[in-house]
């Protein structure tokens, strides 16, 4: 019997009423009195010496308020990087200056060179066309392996090379890993590319800067997943504004997928220019700008090898990855191919020895940073492709090989520094075999073949690490931030609650799911609880939302604050009921004295807290408001097994996804409908990466996939009806809700299943190509089939 409220209920998303009826308040909906508009003149070449920027003609154009160039920001800080990686030699990474506006050089197509603030956007754009640039072209550095060769042109002249860092993990294991490969009965080697992606949230980025000359207060409205982080990074490191004079507001945000975590130049510019122009300054990204200025995702080139003993046990794994950083270090870019990738290389398997090498490389391309999954999809893809290749080389069943090597005892300490607290990989694989109807595959293949099509079945497992923590550990790993979360629970006099959370919802459904938790704890209706987020002025310092952390970390902070509320309310109730505090029980929104029929309602207690006439003033303060900060003791480890079934047209190479099944273990679940929706969205993006999406540059650094004419996004008709199951639940052991996070799983777990299925289909047609790179487009499949 489904619940109709509280934890476990599929409560309808209350936020959807405003989103679906056009009543949302997005950043572009914010228009301030007297605002001016900025247009950024962006580089149309990938690499060049910026000799001069002549704005004299443009200054005289109609409507121009002020024109800024890189020279205006010489005294302003660099756009900061939030994570410092230490390389295998103990040296810190090379960290170039990242100017707000290009100065001295341009380093990628789309880099802002000048900014025109004008009365209207079209006047700003007209004036930008009158700016005269003198740029001397330099050879572009695009291919990562070429970029690190001796004598390659340097993206940053003041760095020793284009190599940001050369990371080895775990360096002490390297010798033992190499020895295991020498001793192996079988070695499988795979070289692959994890294709570069553009996140493409439905809402492009927007920034509105405001400055109050009378008070010296700055406000930035921005499309961010983490307004407190932006306030800290921009205030402390770029513009030198203390937090108490800087408010950052991220109102309704239309999708982020990671690309709205980062602090961008346009935010700093609008904040800076609002003061310089003494009027609000607004920037709204066009979709074309988004393609060349939003941080991209993925872009790894990897060689991975597995060593197995004669009984097909995995004995060692080693990987060698080139990770593209783009032209500058975006906020969390260095952490993605290292701590979010290397630590996941054990996957679901008890491989005893692992060594991961990652070379992070600067190129003349848009910066690359976290995108849904961030490092974990890259790890999962290479590992799960490799395991499939092992199975085919050895002539064993891919699922049996996986099962044989599964981790089965928990907690499990991997050789890559993390400890999985719980999981049951056998259970999710069993569930997958059931829900994917593996038994019926042979008949479905026969039916496809009767139509002249090939049919393939592919599986993969995944392990994810969510809610990256604890802060003291991530500090040792190079994070320049803590990774706790915060919540203030404010109970009003008549019993309603407001939760001010440091988490940020940009589509996830926090406004629905978070109240379900408190409703369960107190026993009151969900509609008595409101969630406030996204404004540094009225929420406690929080780290925002990414890495599937909101419920596991932010939800835990909310639980801790609510526990404090309940503890205090019990004291008040015990006074009102003239009973001992230890005898007070809270159930269904009422406090009662154990073993009696004496009780007092939640609302009477909350009223007493604010109208404290009959109140233990000598013992406790009036009011009912508590704050908690929660710093997890470990990551959470969702896991699962996915199966994809494709049909392949051998004449055209066209692949269609016919069936997709996902069996996930997310631990405890607060709202099953929202979880299902998160998996659906993740699968769409994972299938998009596997089949369609490809961000590509030519050798001159021109972005070839610069619009939807050439960048293929998955549409509803490209996707099947999914079979999604999350009944396998091994609750997280270290957070109060036992939850693990579900936001990224679909994007992490699906690409290898798709590619494994395509290769299976090709094999059934007599063509075993070993590997095919994503996206598996018709042209690539046809070329592989006919190669």
């Amino acid at each position: 019997m489904p619940k109709d409220g509280g934890i476990g209920a599929s409560s309808k998303r209350r936020e959807d009423i405003r989103f679906l009826t056009g009543e949302g308040n997005y950043t572009d909906d914010i228009n301030l009195h007297g605002q001016a508009y900025v247009f950024f003149l962006r580089s149309d070449i990938a690499h060049g010496t910026l000799n001069s920027v002549d704005t004299s003609a443009a200054e005289a154009m109609p409507g121009v308020v002020k024109i800024f160039t890189g020279a205006d920001f010489e005294a302003v800080g660099s756009i900061p990087c939030g994570w410092q990686v230490t390389d295998k030699h103990g040296e810190v990474m090379q960290e170039p200056r990242h100017p707000v506006l290009a100065h001295g050089k341009v380093r990628h197509v789309g880099e802002p060179i000048a900014a025109v603030v004008a009365e209207s956007l079209s006047e700003a754009r007209d004036a930008a066309e009158a700016i005269v640039l003198d740029i001397t072209d330099l050879p572009a550095v695009i291919d990562m392996k070429e970029a690190v060769k001796a004598g390659a042109p340097k993206v940053h002249d003041d760095l020793t090379s284009n190599l940001c860092y050369d990371w080895g993990f775990v360096e002490e294991n390297k010798g033992a890993v190499d020895q295991a490969f020498k001793d192996a009965a079988h070695v499988t080697t795979l070289e692959l590319v994890n294709n570069r992606l553009v996140a493409n949230p439905m809402e492009p980025r927007v920034a509105v800067g405001d400055y109050a000359r009378g008070t010296g207060d700055h406000t930035l409205y921005t499309t961010s997943q983490n307004p407190h982080v932006i306030r800290l990074l921009m205030g402390a490191f770029v513009l030198g504004i203390p937090e108490h004079k800087l408010r950052v507001v991220a109102p309704d945000v239309g999708g982020g997928f990671g690309t709205k975590i980062f602090h961008y130049q346009e935010e700093a510019f609008c904040t800076f220019a609002a003061k310089a122009c003494n009027r609000p300054v607004k920037w709204t990204s066009s979709r074309s700008e988004a393609f060349m200025s939003d941080a991209h995702g993925r872009d790894h080139v990897t060689k991975i090898q597995m060593a197995l003993d004669k009984d097909n046990n995995f004995t060692a794994l080693r990987t060698d990855t080139y990770a593209n950083m783009g032209a500058y270090l975006s906020t969390f870019a260095p952490s993605v191919p290292t701590w979010l990738h290397g630590t996941l290389m054990a996957g679901n398997y008890k491989t005893p020895l692992i060594y991961v090498n990652v070379k992070a490389v600067f190129t003349n391309t848009v910066p690359v940073d976290a995108y849904r999954g961030a490092g974990r999809p890259e790890a999962t893809y290479q590992l799960e492709r490799l395991v499939d290749k092992c199975a085919h080389e050895l002539g064993v069943d891919p699922i049996a090989l996986r099962r044989q090597n599964f981790i089965t005892e928990f907690p499990y300490a991997t050789p890559v520094a993390v400890e999985y607290d719980t999981g049951d990989y056998v259970a999710t694989m069993d569930k997958l075999e059931e829900i994917s109807d593996m038994a019926g595959f042979a008949a479905r293949r026969t039916a496809s073949e009767a139509k002249g099509k090939l049919r393939g079945f592919g599986v993969n497992c995944y392990i994810e690490a969510c809610g990256i923590a604890p802060s003291n550990l991530v500090g040792q790993l190079g994070a320049r931030a803590g990774l706790y979360e915060s919540a203030t629970v404010r109970v009003n006099a008549t019993g309603g609650l407001v939760v001010m959370t440091g988490s940020h919802s940009h589509g996830q459904g926090h406004e629905t799911a978070f109240p379900q938790v408190i409703a369960e704890m107190i026993g009151i209706p969900e509609d008595m609880i409101e969630i406030v987020h996204g404004d540094t002025a009225n929420t406690p310092m929080g780290m925002g939302t990414y890495g599937s952390r909101s419920l596991a970390v932010g939800g835990s902070a909310m639980v801790r604050a609510t526990e404090k509320i309940i503890a205090k309310a019990k004291k008040i109730a015990s006074h009102l009921l003239e009973a001992s505090e230890g005898d007070i029980e809270l159930k269904d929104g009422a406090f009662s004295v154990a073993g009696t029929d004496k009780s007092v309602a939640w609302g009477d207690v909350t009223l007493a807290a604010y109208v404290p006439h009959n109140y233990p003033l000598e013992d406790i303060e009036p009011g009912l408001e508590e704050t908690a900060f929660y710093d997890p003791s470990n990551f959470t480890y969702p896991s699962g097994a996915y199966a994809c079934e494709v049909e392949l047209d051998p004449e055209t190479g066209h692949v269609t996804i016919e069936r997709f099944a996902a069996a996930d273990d997310f631990g405890n679940i607060v709202n099953p409908m929202i979880v299902t929706g998160q998996v659906h969205g993740g699968l769409a993006q994972g299938i998009g990466q596997a089949l369609m999406e490809n961000c590509t540059y030519d050798s001159d650094g021109q972005l070839l996939s610069a619009s939807y004419m050439d960048y293929a996004m998955p549409r509803a008709s490209d996707l099947p009806f999914y079979t999604v199951d999350h009944s396998c639940q091994t609750p997280c052991t270290h957070n109060p809700l036992g939850v693990k996070g579900c936001g990224e799983a679909g994007a992490i777990g699906s690409p290898p299943a798709v590619v494994n299925a395509v290769l299976d289909a090709m094999r059934s047609g007599g063509k075993d190509v070993g590997h095919i790179d994503m996206p598996v487009t018709p042209a690539r499949v046809w070329a592989a089939m006919n190669g």
Partner: protein, 263 residues
Amino acid sequence: MYNFDVEKPTSIADAVAALGREEAQPISGGQTLIPTLKARLAMPSVLVSLRGIAEMQGISTDGQGRLCIGGGTLHAVVAKEAAAQYPALAGLAARIGDPAVRNRGTIGGSVANNDPSACYPSAVLASGATVVTNAREIAADDFFEGMFATALEEGEIVTEVKFPIPEKAHYEKFIQPASRFPLVAVFVAKFADGVRVAVTGASENGVFRWTDAEDALSSNFDAGAIEGLTVDGGGMISDLHGSGDYRAHLVGVMTKRAVAALT
């Protein structure tokens, strides 16, 4: 976009006069031109809208039994109103772009633009249609002159397209996954006196007739008749979405499928 004037004539004669203005640019559905203007890749001084000209609207049949479609007729209208007489053409129109495109875009605009990946030119060419302008009638074989190039003179407007109706016809499209324009599409039309095969999406010279296939199919209208026939990948478009050889291969596959759908 840059500023421009807009004129909205109600007759072909007024439109031709308006197009005599300096830097004038005709606009029909604007499905190519509006994005071009928004990207500031064109700077006309005046846009002459052809959407208010009643004599360029709608579908009729002439004395020779040809289906005559006004140049300003929307794809959505062709999809609906040509379905009974020329289902292959209506089917083509029904799958151009998305509903928004089909309710703005026009046949005249598409034919005049001659995008190498547009759908309509293949139907016009395979049908042996006649393109009617304000000044003359041009046979389809003489109209399409290469990528984005046509026989139209400056200021000349496509006012109507007259389609002979084949005994049977089929349009087979393989889409480019991002734009959903044809990566390669083939329109096969079988007439009493022979078969015409037009290919769009593939060639660097825009829509073309695959005459080898036409000859083979004219003597034996069966998918097997073109087995072994190939087009040269050399002159084919090669880009992110497929090589010239892949496109050349798809020309054969799509042609076979179009014929198979009719036999």
